[in-house]
């Protein structure tokens, strides 16, 4: 069970400590700076915080002494990476996600960015390398922005059974899988469907705007995605997906997968894409416990309508205990659940807009 929760917001990073059945605010870091991603590496306790400064670009800070002191690192860089045809040479626009490598890969951290590059470090962030096999794939220049001007890589799943198997999700560029640590990549995603494309390209794997990927850590063949126009599940790995009929709405950004129960996942639905607010101002979480055959709508402890909170891709997380959940909204609302989402409790705080919640 994680003892902490990190909340990355538009105005700094907030660290919450477990207290009873909830959490209490313990420390704040980088107040005033937009935090786009954070990670507490479970293997060595290193803290990584990615900032997205309005004027001065993307910054990366690391603490090896649990936040007592911080070192500013050179972030991943596109220096020397050539421009695509008809485009400017790429530069780092945002760090969207940071994920630890496997237990057998100390110091290895993966980093997903806008404009779409996947980077990794083997020395705790001192030096970063762009994954060239994925970037140089001839289909990559067809990736397009999804919510931002540039494509972004937001989800990185490292197989707990085999660290060389990694699955990533891109808005918009589909689901890609490597089984050799990133040397070769396969575009997966049969069965995903893109409503926003002309009919003849609706099932084109490259055009799938997977908003977020999550899988069951104990059974990582069970993969979920909250997609731009639907919720999909792959029961036997990311090759083949089945569209589900979720409660409330198919639109949303976030999904969290139960760490041990392969059929259980949570979602934070919103009215579809031209609106992006909770249907009828009713802010809910949905849950399936039967592999997506049915969904429950969870409301206990969440605000009553009107509540126009929206949850971004990294705003819904389940802890390794499978019971503790955190939910953060772009209105700065933060909720905890200690019972798998049956009931929620609001954090006693009004926070800045929340980009990500992360147990650690």
């Amino acid at each position: 069970m994680s003892e902490r929760l990190y909340v990355a917001t538009r105005k700094g990073l907030f660290e919450w400590a477990r207290k009873g059945r909830g959490f209490s605010l313990r420390r704040e870091f980088f107040l005033g700076s937009p935090v786009s991603a954070c990670l507490r590496d479970p293997r060595d306790g290193a803290l990584y915080v990615a900032l997205h400064l309005g004027h001065f670009g993307v910054k990366l800070h690391r603490s090896l002494d649990d936040g007592a002191s911080w070192t500013e690192l050179s972030p991943p860089s596109y220096a020397g990476v050539a421009a695509d045809e008809d485009k400017e040479a790429p530069s780092l626009k945002m760090i969207w996600t940071l994920e630890p490598g496997g237990a057998d890969e100390p110091g290895l951290v993966w980093c997903g960015t806008l404009p779409g590059g996947l980077f990794s470090t083997r020395d705790k962030g001192e030096t970063w390398t762009l994954n060239r096999p994925l970037w140089d794939d001839p289909r990559r220049p067809e990736w397009v922005g999804g919510g931002y001007d540039d494509p972004g890589l937001h989800s990185i799943l490292v197989d707990p059974r085999d660290s060389r198997r990694v699955v990533v999700g891109i808005s918009t560029g589909g689901v890609w899988e490597t089984t050799d640590g990133g040397a070769h990549w396969t575009l997966q995603g049969e069965g995903l469907r893109a409503e926003y494309m002309p009919p003849e390209r609706a099932n084109d794997r490259l055009m799938q705007d997977v908003h977020r990927l999550a899988w069951c850590a104990k059974h990582p063949e069970s993969v979920w995605t909250q997609h731009h126009n639907g919720v999909f599940r792959a029961a036997k790995g990311p090759e083949k997906w089945r569209e589900l009929k979720p409660a409330v709405s198919g639109f949303g950004f976030a999904v969290a997968a139960h760490p041990t129960e392969r059929g259980t996942a949570w979602f934070a639905p919103a009215r579809k894409d031209e609106y992006r607010y909770p249907e009828a101002g009713r802010f809910v979480v949905t849950r399936t416990r039967d592999g997506g055959r049915s969904f429950e709508t969870l409301t206990e402890g969440l605000p009553k309508p009107p509540a126009y909170d929206l949850v971004y891709r990294h705003g819904l997380e389940v802890d390794e205990d499978g019971q503790t959940l955190a939910l953060g909204s772009t209105s700065g609302g933060l909720w905890f659940s200690a019972d798998g989402g049956d009931a929620w409790r609001a954090a006693p705080a009004r926070l800045p807009p929340i980009n990500a919640v992360r147990f650690g």
Partner: protein, 89 residues
Amino acid sequence: MAIVSFTSHLRRVAPSAPVKTAAATLRAALATLAPAHPMLTPYLVDDQGRLRKHVAVFVDGALAPRAQALDLPIGEAAEVHVMQALSGG
């Protein structure tokens, strides 16, 4: 010698007082400051060597065009101000 000063927003990574420089351009001036202020350049310049979109450079009171700001010749008595652009929020 030209004088270069930096917005107080950069106080963590830039010289705290205006600096005199014999460098011919702002890019060259930043290079001379890099040993003592290694994070300064990446705050102002992106990973392809371009001035960041929301950084403004004034030379003798005039806003320098973004594409040329780093490489404009700096006169001997020039006063250069590196500021945050309001467009950046």
